[in-house]
Amino acid sequence: MVEDILTWLCIYSYTIASILLLSGFIFNKEKPLKLASHIIVPAFAAHSIIFIIRWARTGYFPANSEFENAITGGWFAIGLTVYLIFRNRGLTGVALFTVPATLLFLGYGVMKAPDPLPLAASLKSSWLVIHVLFAQLAFGSYAIASGMGLLYVLKDRKVQQGIESRFYERIPRLEIIEENMFRFVVYGFIAEAIMIVAGAIWAKDLWGNYWGWDPVEVWSLISWLLYGLSIHLKVTLGWKGRKLAWIMIFLLSTVIITYWGIDIVVENTRHIFGVTSLDS
C-alpha cells in the first residue's frame, strides 16, 4: 500500500518536474528549473523509500522485474542528478534528460508487473547484486553524461548565435559541462566493464559458459565498445565540443536497447525476468 502510494507520488512528481524542466528550457526561465529541483529532491527521497521497502519486502536486491529494474535504474539516475543539483545548482538542467527517462521506465514498469514476484532459481546468486548494481550504476552515469551532452548542445547553440541570456549564463561554462560529461562517461564505462565481467563469471555457473552471444550480451558489448571508442576519441584524438556531446546523447540508446529494448523485441534471450520455468 505504502509502496503503491509512493510509486504514484514519484510518477506524478517526475511528471510535473519534467514539464517544469521542459518549460524552463523552452522559455529560458530559471524559476521552473528551481521549482523542478524542489520537486525532484523529495521525489528522490520517496524513490529511495520504495527501493528500500521493496528490498526489505522481498528479501532480494530489486532486479526481478521491469518495475524493479526501473526503480533501481531510476534510483541511480535521479540520485546522481540530485548529487549534481546539490553540488552545482547550475547543473539542474541535467535533469531534463534523467527525469523524463526515469519517468518513462517507471511507467513501463508499473504497466508490466509492479507486484513482487518470488525470485526465480536462476536469479538466486550473489552475483545478481554485483551484476545489477554495476549495470544500473553504469546506466545512471551514462544518463547523466547524456544530460550533460544535451545541456552542452543547448548552451553551445546560444553561444554560437551570440545570444546573451541570463538563463544560460547561470549554466556552467561549456568546458565545465564537457568535463563533467566525460567524468560520468568514465564512471559508466568502468561500471559497465565490471557489470560485463561479473555477468560472465555468473553465466559460467548458471549456463556453463562465460559468453553465449545472447542478444543482451552482444548489445552490452557493443555499448561498452562504443563508449570505449568515445573515450579514445576524446583522449587520443582530442575530439571535443558539440560533436562529442551529440555522441554522448546518442550513445545512451545502446544502453537502453541492452537493458530494456531486447526484452521487448527478442523472445529467446537468456536474460528474461520473472522466469516461470526451470528450463530457462
Binding site: P118, E175, E179, F182, I194, W202, D205, W207, I231, L278
Partner: protein
Amino acid sequence: MFDTRDLYELWKEQSVINRLLDFIGFTEIYLSPVTILLLVIFFINLFVVILNRMPVIFRRAYLAGEMPAFSAALIKSGKDVKVITAKKNVNDLADDLRSFFKKKKWFFREAKADNTYIAVKNRYSPIGFLFFHLSFFLCLIGGIMITYTRFSGNLPLTEGQKFEGDMAQFRSLSSEPKILKRLPALSLYLEKVQPVYDNGVPTELLASLSLTFNDQTKKEVIRINEPVKRGSMSIIAERIGVSPLFVIRGPSGRQIDAAYVSLNVLGGEEDSFQFETDKRFTFVVRFYPDFIRDKGAASTKSIEMKNPAMLLTAGKDSKIIYQGIIKLGEYADLGVYSIGFQDVRYWVEFLIIREYGRIPLIGGFIMAAIGLIMRLVFFQKRFRLAIEHERDNTLLYIDGKSEFFQHSFKEEVDIIARGLEDFMNYKMSIRGDNG
C-alpha cells in the same frame, strides 16, 4: 523457424548459403579462418601498440628516462601559474616542498634544471594502460585454452539412474576437445530431485546425487547457480522434466514391457515416444502435474506434482486409436494391449563441462578492471615547481596539469597552493625563521 530437426537438417543439406558458410568456416565461428585472421590482426596490432607505448609509459611513470627539464622562465610564461613569495632561502623552501608533498603522499623529485622540482600524484597511473591492454592477451590465452580443451555435453538422468562413463547416454555433445581429449573418470547416481515452487515460480532445484570422481565417492547437492566442481570439471543442473513409468500389458493382462520415459512436457508442451517392442504404436503425451478440470477441459492448477495426470493420444499405423486422460495408477485400453501410468519421477539434464583456461581468463578480467580504475579513476596529476631568488624574497612558481579534467583541477591547484603557503608559514613559525 523449422518445425522439426529433420526439416532443419534437410535445409542445411540443400542450402547454398549454408554450404558457403561451411566452406569459409563460419558455421563454427570461434575457429573460423576469418575469425582467427581477424583475431591475429587485432592482437598483432595490440602488441605493436603496446611495444610502441611502453617507453612513453615508463617515462610518464618516472620509471625510466631523465627527469623533465624546464626552467622558472618557462613556468612563469604559463597562463595559470601560481606564485608564492617566501621569506626564506632556496634550500629551506625546497625542504618545505619536499616535506609538504611527502606528507600528501605525492611523488617528489628534483627536476633536471637547478631549483626546479616535480610533484606527482598517482605516479603509476600510466601503468594502468599496460594492465588493461595486456589483460586482452590473458583473456586470449584463456579463450584459446577453453576453445581447444572444452568438452561439454548434455546428460539427462532420471531419479535412480546411473551414469558410469557410457558416452551414449549423452543427449548431445555441444563441444568436443581438440586437444587433451581424455576425460577424467566420472560416475553419477541421481538419487533425488526436488524442485521448489513459490506461487508457480520455480525458486529452487535440488538434485541430490552420488558422485564418483577419481575413485572418490561423495554425496552432493546441485542447485541452479551452484554447480559441483571437480578440478577442471563442472556439473550444472540445466533442465528438469518428468519421466512417467509406462507399463504395457498384453491380452492376458500380463506385463510385456515397462520403462521410465523421459519427456519434455513440464512447460505444457507435447512430447511423443514409442516402445521398442512394437513400433507401430506412437504415444503423444500432454502432462498435467496438478490435474483439474476447468469448465470440462483438462488443465493444471500449478506446476507442482500434486495430482499428476496426462492426456494420452495413442496412434497405430498413423490412426488414432485412443485419446483420454489417465491418472497415476490408471490404464488406457488400446484394444489388444493396455498401457498404464504407474509412477512418475523427475529427470534432470546435467551439463557436464571439462575445460582449462579459467585462471588466465579470470586473471585477465581482474587485470582489465584494475587497469581501467588505475588509468581513469586514479589518473595522474603533476605539479612543476621552480624556485627563484629575487632581491629579499624567494619566489616559488607552481603550475599544475592533470591528465583529465583540467578545469576542475584548477580548483585543486588553488587549494594545494594555499595549503602549501600555510605549511610554509607554519614551518617558519616553528623554526622562528623570519628570513
